[in-house]
């Protein structure tokens, strides 16, 4: 009885979670000029409009490029920090953890403000994408750190010692033993970093330079003045791209994880 009720309740919550997303996807196929409900008919015209809209296409390219850079930089810096944290940090462990997670713990809007002030104070300003990229690296860093740390926690230090007793130097131990064994953690950390960066709004919004609007910013600006279902088409494509990235990575990742 109680279990039945809980199941029904959960299903309602799952519907609640999916509803707004489903509505956006549904609206993208509306053939009408405006977002009307019920929809006026099925059409792909807004997808055509979107594909021919250079502003959106450029925003998508910008977003992908920023996410890729943030992923690589965070991936390297975060993995290094995680290796230090698990293997060498002693008394300072909790401090390092809090510091590494701080971009996640502190309000994004505050981080955005601080970076905005900072890039102006040092004279860089928002004429380049430097501040924007730094912001994306900061925001994605905790995700890499958390994922790599947790995969390192399952790493037995004796593996490194065994390799060392067999004659492996430090770099060889890292390359042949440590890295292959924490690869799933590094992979999923980078994947998280990519997806999070693709979605970051406030930092992009406050630090964007001319012509560096990411997709969420472009969409936000567009929605201020436009009500056509084209925004829904853009959103749907964005959703599909993200899900594809995740699924493909999972498949690639999955193969590697289950090999041993």
């Amino acid at each position: 009885m109680a279990r039945q009720a809980l199941n029904i309740y959960s299903v309602i919550i799952y519907i609640f979670l999916l509803l707004p997303i489903a509505v956006v996807v549904g609206a993208s196929f509306n053939s009408g000029e405006f977002l009307t409900f019920p929809p006026q008919g099925f059409s792909l015209r807004w997808y055509v409009a979107f594909l021919n809209n250079e502003v959106f296409m450029r925003a998508i390219r910008t977003s992908l490029w920023i996410a890729a850079v943030a992923m690589v930089v965070s991936g390297i810096i975060g993995t290094m920090a995680a290796v230090y944290y698990v293997n060498y940090a002693a008394r300072s462990k909790e401090t390092i953890r809090i510091a590494m997670l701080s971009p996640l713990l502190l309000p994004e809007v505050l981080t955005a403000i601080s970076l905005l002030f900072f890039v102006y104070a040092v004279g860089i300003g928002t004429t380049t994408m430097f501040g924007l990229l730094v912001g994306h690296v900061l925001i994605t860093l905790p995700f890499v750190f958390m994922n790599v740390t947790s995969s390192l926690e399952g790493y037995d230090p004796d593996w490194s010692m065994a390799a060392q007793s067999l004659g492996a130097s430090r770099w060889t131990r890292f390359r042949r033993i440590t890295l292959p064994l924490i690869k799933p953690g590094v992979f999923s950390g980078c994947l998280f970093a990519f997806v999070i960066s693709f979605d970051v709004f406030t930092i992009s919004f406050m630090l964007k330079s001319i012509g560096s609007s990411t997709l969420p910013i472009q969409l936000f600006d567009y929605l201020k003045t436009n009500y056509t279902p084209e925004a829904a088409a853009v959103s749907t494509v964005s959703i599909v791209v993200t899900i594809l990235v995740v699924i493909i990575s999972e498949k690639v990742l999955g193969l590697r994880v289950h090999r041993f």
Partner: protein, 352 residues
Amino acid sequence: MTKVTIRNLTKIYGQAIKAVDSISLEIPSGEFVSLLGPSGCGKTTTLKMLAGFESVTSGSIAFDGDDVVAVPPEGRDIGMVFQNYALFPHMTVRGNLAFGLEMRKVPKAEMQRRIDATLDLVQLGPYADRYPRQLSGGQQQRVAIGRALVIEPRILLLDEPLANLDAKLREEMRVFIRDLQRRVGITTVYVTHDQAEAMTMSDRVVVMFGGKIAQQAPPSDIYDYPVSREVAGFVGQVNFIDGFVASVDGDLACIETPFGPAEVPAKTRGRGSAVTLALRPEAIDIVPDTAGHGIPATVVSSYFSGAILDYTLAMADGTKVDVKTIARTRFEPGAQVRLSVDAHRFWPIEAA
């Protein structure tokens, strides 16, 4: 083969915690030595210093006369077997065995030959392409030993390698490792807290307490002629019998005990001085009260454990004595019995 010489080896953690306190030990080439002791006695720290995973506070370690204290683990040419095996989970059995050879840049053909030979040695030929998680505990154990041996190291170090196996497998592996070591003839240091393991496998047992070596001797000597109460108690069950010196005749002293007179090697003590003797439970035999000879005693408890009966008895003065006999007739608690003692099995420990 390699001779290991340890001199005044000391490890101090922090300011003053002496984990290992100036131990000296000579291990002849090809010998199987066990470091035996309770946890925290410094045996594992000693092994880690031999391997190079732990730095040396003072003292020296030499392999064939070459001091290795400053050499990092990867340069010491040791084979180490870890307690939890530490097999590389992302490599097959063959990959695990190949790793050390790759580090030594052994040519491909020779590598294959040596791996195959080692796989035969540890009886894992059919499992060469399995991953560690696909193997049983005993098989993983043999991979770990094979991985350590395939590089033909100067010495073999084993850190409680049987601790994670079940009882039956543990006994099989004791014999397996002992035979293998004999065949390869490699100098071996084996760390354990299990006295039976140390006894059955070693040429020599080094008993450690509190960072110091309490006694080093062949297993039977450790058992029969322990130097202290601690050693006597650690390597098996023991009764401590109080007595006093009745007479001294050259090298032999006659000790008066509740079990009658006992002759033991004389220590420099005069007549009448108090002495504690060690007596193993199996050196005492129980006969029925009707036998008419022997020391009267009452059975307090008796436990059956397969081949052996474990008794606790009370003597006339209330002193408790532990006795092990092979399981024949069983005397029930409360039964009146008589004890007969093999007088040669007394061994003087120290003054009472």
